[in-house]
């Protein structure tokens, strides 16, 4: 629609100003401060320096960085390996039960991850449920505690982030055109080949957005090590938090770490864009309408909040609409 209405123009302007004030300026300042000198009294002094980044190549930071990276990558891998088959089964479940099964994933998705982290203590603590289970299986003879270890942090991250992996993958499996799988089978591909050459590339955007949604928080959820790690398994998030809370705050160091985090994010977004390309190459035989819809919906999946939305019954991109073209009821 063309815009001539002055009110609409005003709104457009308001949106632009909003983004400038709340997205552009804060991030710009963060970037700027990462090049400034720290100061005891006014937090920063506007003297250009690369010192903050140099401080990040010290061995102590590199240890924190690689540990945190390892935890986040492992947690993401656990979520992917556990979540993919689950999402696939869920998306192929009968239409009668699917909304309810999905709802059971949407609920933990929206539940405070702090509370979910806390809930894990009962499982992991000395004589907790996991310990009892191991005793029952005769894998251990005495109560064990899993708390206050890197392992606890890893379980905590995987546990809290699992729904964030499941929902975007679910959305992309649900959109998957089953005719393509049939075609691959008809042409003689075994199930492994079908998976590798058809299913995997087509669900790549879901996988990629799931990984973005899990990986970034897994680097930053500082309360998980606070609650479960007891000083072990520190994340990049804890390091950033510390720079702002220690008696003499070090904003520039925190800002430099955050800038690195933002760079990681941008890399992942590029990866996501690439996965979209892979997926659309494979589904060229879709008609134009489907393509457009796929673009719109995969766009949604990239947004961390989107699973919250597609999770909400995945009603935003109804399958019916895809199957029936955009002909009938989906539009009304």
């Amino acid at each position: 629609m063309k815009t001539r209405n002055p009110l609409i123009r005003l709104f457009i302007l308001a949106v632009a100003i909003w983004l400038i004030i709340f997205a552009l300026i804060p991030n710009f300042f963060l970037l700027a401060i990462s090049f400034f000198e720290p100061d005891k009294h006014s937090y920063v002094i506007a003297d250009f320096t690369l010192n903050n980044y140099e401080r990040l190549i010290t061995p102590s930071f590199i240890t924190i960085f690689t540990d945190s990276l390892w935890l986040a990558i492992t947690a993401t891998a656990i979520c992917l390996l556990a979540g993919y088959p689950f999402a696939y089964i869920l998306a192929r479940a009968s239409a009668r039960f699917r909304p309810w099964l999905l709802l059971l994933i949407v609920i933990p998705f929206w539940t405070s991850s702090l509370i979910r982290t806390y809930a894990l203590i009962n499982i992991l603590q000395n004589n907790g449920l996991l310990s009892k289970l191991l005793e029952f299986l005769h894998l251990t003879s005495e109560p064990v505690s899993f708390m206050y270890s890197e392992f606890a942090v890893l379980i905590g991250l995987a546990y809290t982030m699992l729904p964030f992996m499941i929902l975007p993958i679910y959305a992309s499996v649900e959109k998957l055109d089953t005719r393509l799988i049939d075609a691959a089978n008809d042409l003689g591909a075994g199930s492994l080949r079908t998976f590798w050459h058809v299913i995997l590339p087509l669900t790549a955007p879901g996988i990629m957005s799931g990984c973005i949604l899990v990986f970034l928080p897994a680097l930053t959820l500082f309360y998980v090590p606070d609650v479960l790690g007891g000083g072990k398994g520190q994340l990049l998030g804890n390091y950033i938090q510390m720079q702002f809370t220690k008696p003499i705050p070090d904003w520039p160091l925190g800002a430099a770490t955050s800038t690195i985090l933002t760079l990681v994010l941008l890399l992942l977004v590029l990866g996501y864009k690439w996965s979209l390309k892979v997926s659309s190459q494979r589904s060229e035989f879709d008609n134009a309408d489907d393509d457009r819809e796929q673009k719109i919906s995969s766009r949604f999946q990239a947004i961390p909040q989107a699973p919250k939305i597609s999770g909400l019954g995945a009603r935003l991109m109804p399958r019916k609409q895809r199957i029936a073209g955009s002909a009938t009821e989906g539009n009304k």
Partner: protein
Amino acid sequence: MARKSQTLGWLYSFMVYVFMYLPIVVVIIFSFNKGRFAIWTGFDLKWYKLMFANKEIINAALNSLFLAVSASTLATIFGSIMALVLTRYRFIGRRILNGGVYLLTISPDIVMGISLLIIFILIQIPLGFTTLLISHVVLCTPFVVVTLMGRIQKLDEDLVAAARDLGASEVQAFVQVVFPLLLPAIAAGWLLSFTLSMDDVLISFFVQGSGFEILPLRIYSMVKLGVKPDINALSTIMFVGTVILVLAAQFLLKTRRN
């Protein structure tokens, strides 16, 4: 063969659900426990009584409710306008604005938290309710935008065109046709914003200040000390609240428009 793998698949899914819900169920059960420790000694509501008698918790909960209602209402207003502008109108720079919203939604919460903190301190807004409100509105608005965008894209343009043909102005068409059609999605956006605001730790931690304590941060400082039965009670209440809100939002988004 197919049957067997299907059974295995269901068994696997069941295990995932157990993994997901067991810890929460355990917390709920022990919130009704008589004893202090993780051994069942009998049903009792004393931890709930203890929790409700805790002034700090109640105060923080009231603060949080007030903040969440204000923030999600503002976020819903801004978010609705943004979603409409970004989906229904073509203009120069639209892609840039779209990209801006997109980046805002995927940027890590902690980065949003510290960058807002830096701005607040630089322009000397004292940390407290105002800074929390601004931050939560910034956090929630993109959620409302994406919730609504899906709905707006599915909106039947013919209905709007019909209204215009029948002589409605753009504003009239909006108020009488578009708005009622979008109302369920707008309400869902509000509910989801409310949940987000009630749960946020990562951003609030930095912009909270000392005068206005909110519930998630109260819980944060409590859980660092380990399991306590009154936190079990509080967690149970928060969980039940989330379930109700999600169900309501789900219902609103599902409602068929006519």
